[in-house]
Symmetry: C2
Subunit: 598 residues, 2 copies
């Protein structure tokens, strides 16, 4: 039987299956844990996926029962039923993954009471007659018949044409008292939620009536071409003529491509996308909105704007409904931005009566702490080491990256896509260091013990070889050096110091915490035991940890459908006391202590 | 002594003077009636003009007393003192013209209580410190310290830079609760008032604190290149790809040039121009705002928008202060636009307890009638005959146009600039026909009586020769034909019918009117006796008439500085009952009767 290649996205796993196997079997072979409560009988409908590319056998009767014709037409399938007949790419929605940590956030979407900013209003309007010569706008407003209702010039630009095209039967999208879209009767009102990361962009299309995610997609942040991290992009913006505008244009173009992709996926008109909630760190927020970043790049690093921003999407060229608005949640500080606020809102950090610490690990790591209703936040310059930068064999989480390491009788490594190792990504580095500490090959100060059998000394340098040249994918050793370990010590030391300073500000100890929330991609893939072993996190019972995935995107989706969540985001930003670490009396001591391993 | 050529604008007269003569003497020689209450002694300061081009002797002591250094620097002079030394162009502000009808409106500016939409607020803001890391917007809003104050993304685009450039000492322009400009301490807040005519554009720069007109200028409407009248421009917009956008871009470019000119004249920064009120007929309004005109060009000719529009100037590329707004007063109907509303507001038609008819004669003539607090309006398709179109020797009011005619012993004509006659403009045609009726050369039906000595019959056609070939400027007869007279009968018949239908709707007769207001350029230059003689206006005592010049521009200036005037404009538009003439039972009878001469 011929073999078929199956790409599983967005997890990024590739596997080969015998012709005739189902997608569920493919996922299981690849180690991707799809929900399949009924055991693959086509009964529970939990294993929904989307065939993004390639062919498969026609839908079974079970699939026809589980999915609407529109869903089937959009490529949706049940993984347990769908038998591919070619090389296929499969999109797995988060709801269909069984990893409970990821689901915990995705699941929260349904827990948020739908209380949207935008409400639909279906109207039949009387057309102009020689005996009724009122202007089009006047006749529309009279039909709405609510005092104070108004509409902007942008709507008027094609109102007359739309009224006639829809034969005077329309659905309005009302944003408070403003009409922001004129659509055909009964058109569902949709929203766009976006998380602009420094590296990646995630976008979701949401039904505003019920919060359902109709489509999702991702892309690289195109600003990478102008600087890999926030600092270098700020520098670019400030030192190049038109630099700010170029960075803005680039990200808007990418968002517009994502919108096109999402609306095609969901088979809806871009006209019906009447609102966008976009989150990102303060620099991404400012560059999107066209705000200056000069003062973000120099001490004391203040944002241009803190308050939530609402403005017409057309102002920055974002192609949603012509009258639609963009909502940007508030920023707390120059390095604690709207994405952190969105994460905190999604994880309910702001409303808890418990003692909760939540952090989002990246080049900058933002931390929030809630203790007895009081909120504290800070930002740690943790650097890009966990993304593989400044690490000899470091790399992003891509095929061939070592992502898991365990040391026992032998060195066991797991690479992404099971490819021969070509490097090591953040979670692998963390594991490796944790394991080296555990087996006694590494001391607390970060020195490899030359006497330990796992430590190789070559040309006077101590190294730990994860994959020897003979086994690697590129014929060279994949190894960790002393300076690699030092980079990680600096990174995790900064994070640990941030945790400790906030705990000290609140007057509690780590063991008093009820919950320790880890958000973001790296935070979701890292091994908690390794993170505790290297001292990045305090030692706590595993059940106190919650790894919540891209919670910023979830928070954005919640703010699309819930006015209450927007208000909470505002209150969170106003009540959170920002602690500037570099000024804090305890910071240097905590940082020095935090660099210790274990 | 050499002669110097003097161009007097905007009246468009050119004259020659001996070297050593004053501008007042030049104006007197050209028949332009400048105010000079003191008799030219430099004492009354009434004869202010602006030297727009060319050189003159330095300002006298009298001028230095009358004018501020800034005014002098901007070229302002007293006409009675200023002795030109080269060919010069002189701008005469309306205030300096002695025609009382024109002054009546210009004078009203000072009668309007200053109650502007925009208020200044001077603030000193505390700069960021390591111990005070609030975002720039937050620190600004805290300094304002008024609940609900907000600012848009557009302001945030350069707020951070401005706060630092102005050393944290700023003047804000507050438009209600929105901050629309951040300027240096104490900067005067200015406004732009514009009247966009189908042919000409007039623009004024106004100090919002006191209503003073700091500068004014005019330009041709560049849309003329795409169609001379409203109908042809609507046709262009609807039949050319991007036609609407092209017409919008053209007019915005002209407005931007005028803004540059005005701000240079007044020596102010364009940044301080924080609001614009723009009036025009419904088509000019729609084309400026980017609204569709398709439904304006086809029965039943309804506007896309009736309500007042307020939107960021940046949305259409108008280059005033980056956060400034454009305010467009309401339209009443497809052919009764915001310019008519502005005229009515300036002439106080809306508040009178008297019986007042006000009309603005053009290709379309808009008429409003106020009777006992009730308002009526209509639009007459009067056509371009008064602008010289469809008239054999017709022309615009340009040099060489016959503008005055009287018939006694001889034919007396007056031409613009005293040049030999090359044609006849609207006021001349009206005079000619009125005089022909008076002397019995023309019967009521518009037939020239062949037996009358003034009537020439050539090739079977009856004509009235105003200037024989031997005396004309181009060696050909300048004459009126039967069909020319017929064009005028149609035009003035439509206007008279509009007057009569409105009077009938209100249940009054023409002689019941307390006031008959004639606005617009042609309306200001026409001879009232001729207009009554041909039956365009009902026969009323001359003192009941008021010729008010460009009242639309005056209304726009009033709405810049007075919230009350904006409210009145809204109420006027809402309460004015639009009467569709073509549907009115009495229209055809009135039109037929209205075509009669006398």
């Amino acid at each position: 039987m011929p073999k078929l290649t199956i790409d599983l996205e967005p997890v990024g796993r590739r596997t080969e299956i015998e012709s005739g196997a189902t997608l569920l079997e493919a996922a299981q072979a690849a180690g991707v844990e799809l929900l399949a409560t009924c055991g693959g009988q086509g009964a529970c409908f939990d294993c929904r996926v989307r065939l993004a590319r390639g062919q498969a056998e026609p839908p079974t009767l079970e699939e026809q029962a589980a999915l609407t014709p529109a869903e089937l037409a959009a490529g949706q399938r049940l993984a347990c039923q769908c038998i591919p007949t070619s090389h296929v790419k499969v999109d797995i929605p988060p709801e269909s993954l069984s990893t409970p940590q990821r689901l915990s956030i995705e699941g929260q979407m349904v827990d948020v009471e739908v209380d949207p900013i935008l409400l639909p209003l279906d109207l039949t309007i009387s057309p102009p007659l020689m005996t009724d010569l009122r202007p089009d706008s006047t006749r529309l407003l009279a039909a709405v018949n609510q005092a104070g209702t108004h509409l902007s010039r942008r709507l008027l630009v094609d109102l007359s044409e739309r009224l006639r095209r829809y034969n005077w039967q329309v659905r309005l999208a009302l944003r408070g008292s403003e009409i922001v879209a004129v659509l055909p009767h009964q058109t569902p009102l949709l929203g766009l939620a976006v998380d602009i990361g420094t590296t990646k962009v995630a976008a979701y299309l949401v039904d505003l009536a019920n919060g359902a995610t109709l489509a999702k997609s991702g892309a690289m942040n195109p600003q990478i071409g102008y600087g890999e991290d926030v600092i270098s992009r700020i520098h670019y913006a400030n030192t190049h003529a038109d630099g700010r505008r170029i960075l803005q244009t680039k990200i808007v173009e990418t968002l517009n491509s994502l919108i096109t992709e999402l609306t095609i996926q969901a088979r809806v008109s871009v006209d019906s996308v009447v609102e966008a909630v976009i989150v990102g760190n303060t620099a991404m927020h400012h560059l999107l909105a066209g705000l200056p970043v000069e003062q973000l790049g120099a001490s004391p690093y203040v944002p241009a704007a803190g308050e939530p921003l609402e403005f017409p999407a057309a102002e920055i060229g974002l192609k949603i409904s012509p009258g639609g608005y963009i909502y940007l949640p508030p920023n707390i500080a120059g390095y604690v931005g709207a994405d952190h606020v969105a994460m905190a809102i999604a994880a309910d950090v702001h409303t808890t009566s418990q003692k909760v610490l939540a952090l989002d690990i990246g080049t900058n790591t933002e931390i929030s702490l809630a203790v007895d209703g009081k909120l504290y936040s800070c930002s740690c310059a943790s650097g890009p080491a966990f993304e593989g930068a400044h690490i000899r064999d470091g790399m992003r989480a891509a095929p061939g990256a070592i992502e898991k390491v365990s040391l026992g009788e032998t060195i066991k490594i797991a690479t992404i896509d099971h490819r021969p190792a070509v490097g090591i990504c953040g979670s692998g580095i963390l594991d490796a260091i944790g394991e080296l500490v555990k087996v006694g090959a590494l001391d607390k100060r970060g020195n490899l013990r030359p006497e330990h059998p796992l430590v190789r000394v070559r040309e006077g340098k101590r190294e730990f070889v994860l994959a020897p040249a003979a086994e690697s994918g590129h014929g060279q050793d994949v190894l960790l050096s002393r300076s690699d370990i030092n980079e990680i010590q600096l990174a995790k030391g900064a994070i640990r110091a941030g945790e400790e300073v906030l705990l000290a500000e609140a007057g509690i100890k780590a063991e008093d915490l009820d919950e320790f929330i880890v958000a973001g991609a790296f935070g979701t893939y890292l091994d908690l035991a390794s993170a505790m072993r290297v001292g990045m996190f305090p030692t706590l019972p595993l059940e106190k940890f919650r790894q919540i995935g891209n919670a910023a995107g979830a928070g954005a989706r919640q703010m699309l459908i819930s006015r209450k969540k927007r208000l909470e985001a505002l209150q969170f930003s106003q009540h959170s006391r920002y602690v500037e670490l570099t000024l804090h009396r305890q910071f240097m001591a905590s940082f020095t202590e935090g660099m210790m391993l274990g």
